[in-house]
């Protein structure tokens, strides 16, 4: 890595110290900007041009790292787990004959990964080169005390787009803060939903949609309305689990029907 760790902004919690190599690697995760950045660092260790790296070896190294991290119970960001799953898939595609001509071949996938690594490397180098240029106010200076000549016909108000957006953002935030001040007390609890469903089910022996159980004025798509829906859905699962209720759904996103569990079934 050409850039010292002190540049990092996305530090994760420090890991407990351990003598093993794995812990050493684990400690190093602080130095990476996500899984592709880590893969790039591993690839550089192969000390060949990125187009000639061994993708298999790279995948193995990464998978070993993830396995070790799990062994020492390090909580990895989801990005790393997704990448590990993808690399395992890539590995299988590289090692096994292609089962399905419709899907991209292992070589195609490896090429895509190589490109991704090259592209990130290019941008990391570009960033370094950019920052190495003489910068205004650091190595190069404009006139220290310009008298000012108003030449360009422009508004005399000193307002940038940033100021404008910031003002709107601040306003929105204040508005949200006041909205949310009372919102939490309106959320529907699962306990309430279980109680409500249990009370009503006794009177409804036949299939009824879940939504018809929702309290009036709570099915309007607001946060509180959605909290009622979520609470009632969880309550449904809870009651089904304890055998008090049967649930039926025709297909994904279809309406959910419930009825009192008949003692016979």
């Amino acid at each position: 890595m050409t850039i010292p760790e002190s540049f990092e902004e996305d530090r994760r919690d420090a890991m407990p110290a351990d003598e093993s190599d794995a812990a050493q690697l684990v400690l190093d995760i602080d130095g990476f900007e996500g899984p592709i950045d880590m893969l790039l660092a591993l690839a550089r260790e192969q000390k060949v041009d990125l187009t000639h790296i061994s993708i298999l070896q790279l995948a193995d190294q990464f998978l070993t790292f993830v396995a070790e991290a799990r062994r020492v119970r390090l909580e990895l960001a989801a990005d790393y787990l997704v990448m590990a799953a993808w690399l395992a898939y890539l590995k299988s595609r590289l090692l096994l004959p292609d089962p399905d001509p419709e899907e991209p071949s292992g070589e195609d996938l490896a090429a895509a990964l190589t490109f991704q690594l090259q592209r990130l490397e290019a941008m990391q180098e570009a960033g370094t080169r950019l920052m190495a240029r003489p910068q205004l106010g650091r190595e190069v200076f404009a006139r220290g005390n310009p008298e000012g000549v108003d030449l360009i016909r422009k508004s005399s108000f000193d307002l940038t787009l940033y100021d404008l957006l910031k003002a709107y953002g601040d306003f929105k935030r204040r508005q949200q803060a006041s909205t949310f001040h009372i919102a939490p007390t309106d959320l529907y609890s699962i306990e309430d939903a279980v109680k409500r469903l249990s009370d009503m089910l006794g009177r409804m022996p036949d299939w009824v949609t879940l939504s018809s159980f929702l309290p009036r004025n709570w099915s309007d798509g607001t946060i509180t309305g959605r909290s009622a829906l979520a609470a009632h859905f969880l309550a449904t699962l809870e009651l089904a689990k304890s055998g008090q209720l049967e649930v039926r759904q025709e297909g994904a996103f279809g309406p959910i029907y419930l009825r009192r569990a008949s003692p016979a079934s």
Binding site: G144, K154, L159, L164, Y168, Q176, A183, G221, T222, I223
Partner: protein, 197 residues
Amino acid sequence: MAALPPTTDRHQQIRLIEALLFASPEPLDEAALGSRLPEGTDVAGLMAELQGLYANRGINLVRTGGRWWFCTARDLAELMRVEEEVSKKLSRAAIETLAMIAYHQPVTRAEIESIRGVATSKGTLDLLMEAGWIRPGRRRETPGRPLTWVTTDHFLDHFGLDSLRDLPGVEELRAAGLLDSRPMFGSLPEAGEAGGE
């Protein structure tokens, strides 16, 4: 490029003095300049040479109160004098009002007041109109036919926007960090989100 250590060479010494005076927000005396040069350097001699170099230029090197500075040539003063406009800062209320009009246009003054929750002074709208950023739009066809306000083309020019559609929406402001909501509720989508259009 790696320059020669400039302090050893007379030409480089002059160049350094030139750059230092140019970048300094205030005039510098010879002691201050000398502190950037090797001990024993003939600063006064260098200054005289530099002054000569600029004698006929549009910028002159002058000394007042024992301190040196560059200034524009006196004889150009007549041509340099332009209607000197001081750049003014807008009040927070004015910036917010402009943001409301930008995001909610066409919008009436009463609507701006109800969104912001405070009264808008007539002066604020006048100021924004004077800056050329807003103009009256159509009247709203409601009782009292109130005037609406919209932004101008000059508004787009000033902020480097191609069209009003290029104003970031609320979600994008949030994503850019301009709307750091409290973490607990940050993930909850807002009820009845207006989307900032």
